[in-house]
Subunit: 372 residues, 2 copies
């Protein structure tokens, strides 16, 4: 028998936890999911420790029950993480969380490892407004430094006059002001790093968001090879710079033929869901392999692949399966406006075949999706 | 939402149940597994009704909790099945079980649908011995009509004199005497049939058994196309003849360039485990789709694939994952001599690549396997 970690504690029990659990079981790994929500989708694939984030008895019980701790969302309360890190290895490390949960530190880190970012400025008090304008220019996006996701906690700023009111609208929380990037495409790289420092990088993905929520991912992105190679090299720099163990996603813009990093998700990511069917090893399996101290798996594809999110509503499963090359991934969540409740994965032998399936899948998703 | 069945009751909670459950969750299906063994591997992926086969309270509770009943092993006690069939649809139907749980009726059925079988004779009393010898010849295999698996309940007979002692050794149970087939290869076809009668047939598989237990499956089998096509047509005849709903496997011999059917497994089958990684849709997913009344998925492959069984022992997981194109499927069972505890799936782009990986995987398995 292996001496590697076999009992994996996962902080968060949403759909990412569920897909991690599905990948863990064939590897002989047992998962315990820590999540305060009783109806956590991950409860179907492991034990569910249903308790508050500040319940030290439950956290101690959780730590005792596992060999290693990981997470499926980056907004784990710092005190809970500290409590656990004192008891069991946390993978990826606390550094991956610290450098990505704050948008200013994240951008500074990206710049420090040679990954290009747009001009940005921190906004902590009214005195910072002028400097922010001078650095970033009048056209930008104002975002809270922490706790933002799916377009929440953001305001677009289109002129110098709009900056102060936008900041007011965000409750004068500590913010980052970022220069607007007139991008041609949104892309991401999903990549994993093992405990021994080896890395596995997936092909570049092209993403389409609708009202701040990911709607579609297609892999490989149709960009020049040199650009895709550069993007994947950036992801490796991020993995190594963080000393990351596990999967992460680096989201970037393509503007005028160059890459500008937008943000890091220090975990398995929605833009990597296509890997479940489209890659030799899924992002979820590679995350679990890394966390358990196992070698990473092949990230290559046998043909083009795509993913369409189902948000706020579900079609009949048979409608999904009627689409050529489609598979269904449903999370078992009650549909609610703006809530991701499943996705459609598509695999094909040619790009034309994929495009035909995409048209069908997008039409189906648009019919049922309810954004908030 | 779909009006199809979403709560699936599975009789048996072994590794086949576990893999059915893993396939069911992404489809939005919930499984309840009925199995008297507390440590059933399927308990990780669904609710486990742990009760005896004759516990009518538990069976009634199980029937109430599900929309449809299926099974992962064919030796479900007839009375339990009858009890459940009176309450909920059983898929595949009772006919699939009745015609395959008895080796004589099975062979008669195969012959009746035009699938070639070797000469055989039923053996119920001492008077049948002479007729059996006349029909089958002196070189044959004697098997109990029911309850045999993995080579258990069988005796090879090499001369007329050996028949009576072989029957004595099998406790004079009702038997089938089958002519010995000097086969070149053992092959199988895994195939599924949906509720609407449509079928999905996987590529022909070549199998290698060691002491009656499957050791290796390779797909596609290296036989002439016409033979593979004939084998797949036989599987369709079996599916239609049974009115089967779900996955089954038809095991055959190739002898002198022709096919001779050996037996039907009316369920997902070990020789189809490679489909988890090697086919667009796994045998487990297609079984669950069929049982839930959903359309079947694509059975095609992107490259050659194989499976090596781990029996009675496990290597370190990292040793499996170090093999090119390998993935691990571990069942969470305590290793015991002769017990299937996991398998290695291999995918490759070329047959040469597969053969290299096979050599590594077979060497690893032979090192740890303990047959009984």
């Amino acid at each position: 028998m292996s001496s590697d970690a076999t009992r994996i504690g996962v902080l968060g029990g949403g759909q990412l936890g569920q897909m991690l659990g599905l990948a863990a079981i064939p590897l002989g790994l047992e998962c315990v999911f820590y999540d305060p929500a009783p109806a956590s989708p991950a409860r179907m694939v492991g034990r569910h420790e249903c308790a508050a984030w500040d319940d030290h008895d439950a956290l101690a019980r959780f730590a005792d029950a596992v060999d290693v701790v990981t997470f499926e969302f980056e907004n784990v309360p710092a005190a809970s993480l500290e409590f656990l890190a004192a008891r069991k290895p946390v993978r990826p490390g606390v550094r991956s969380l610290e450098l990505t949960c704050d948008r200013v530190r994240e951008k500074e880190f990206l710049r420090s490892v040679g990954v290009p970012v747009q001009p940005f400025a921190a906004l902590a008090s009214a005195q910072d407004l002028d400097l922010a304008l001078a650095t970033v220019g009048p056209h930008g996006v104002l975002k809270t430094r922490t706790l933002g996701y799916d377009g929440k906690g953001q305001r677009v700023v289109k002129s110098a006059e709009e900056l102060a009111p936008a900041w007011d609208a965000l409750g004068r929380a500590p913010c980052i002001s970022e220069a607007f990037v007139p991008f041609d495409r949104e892309v991401s790289v999903v990549a994993a790093r093992a405990l021994d420092g080896s890395t596995a990088v997936y092909p570049l993905v092209e993403n389409l968001h609708t009202r701040g929520i990911l709607f579609r991912s297609v892999a490989p992105a149709r960009v020049p090879d040199a650009l895709a190679d550069a993007a994947r090299a950036h992801a490796r720099r991020v993995l190594d710079g963080l000393g990351h163990v596990g999967t992460l996603a680096l989201e970037m813009f393509v503007a005028d033929g160059t890459l500008i990093a937008n943000e890091i998700a220090p975990r398995v990511h929605n833009s990597g869901h296509w890997t479940i069917r489209g890659a030799r090893t899924s992002q979820f399996e590679n995350h679990m392999r890394a966390v358990a101290g196992l070698p990473l798996g092949d990230t290559s594809m046998d043909g083009p692949a795509a993913m369409i999110n189902l948000i706020g509503g579900l079609p009949a499963t048979r409608e999904i399966l009627a689409i050529e090359g489609a598979s269904a991934q449903l999370y078992g969540k009650e549909p609610r406006d703006g809530r991701k409740v499943g996705h459609i994965n598509l695999v094909a032998r040619t790009r034309d075949e994929l495009d035909r399936a995409l048209a069908d899948a997008e039409a189906l998703a648009r019919r049922v999706n309810r954004l908030s």
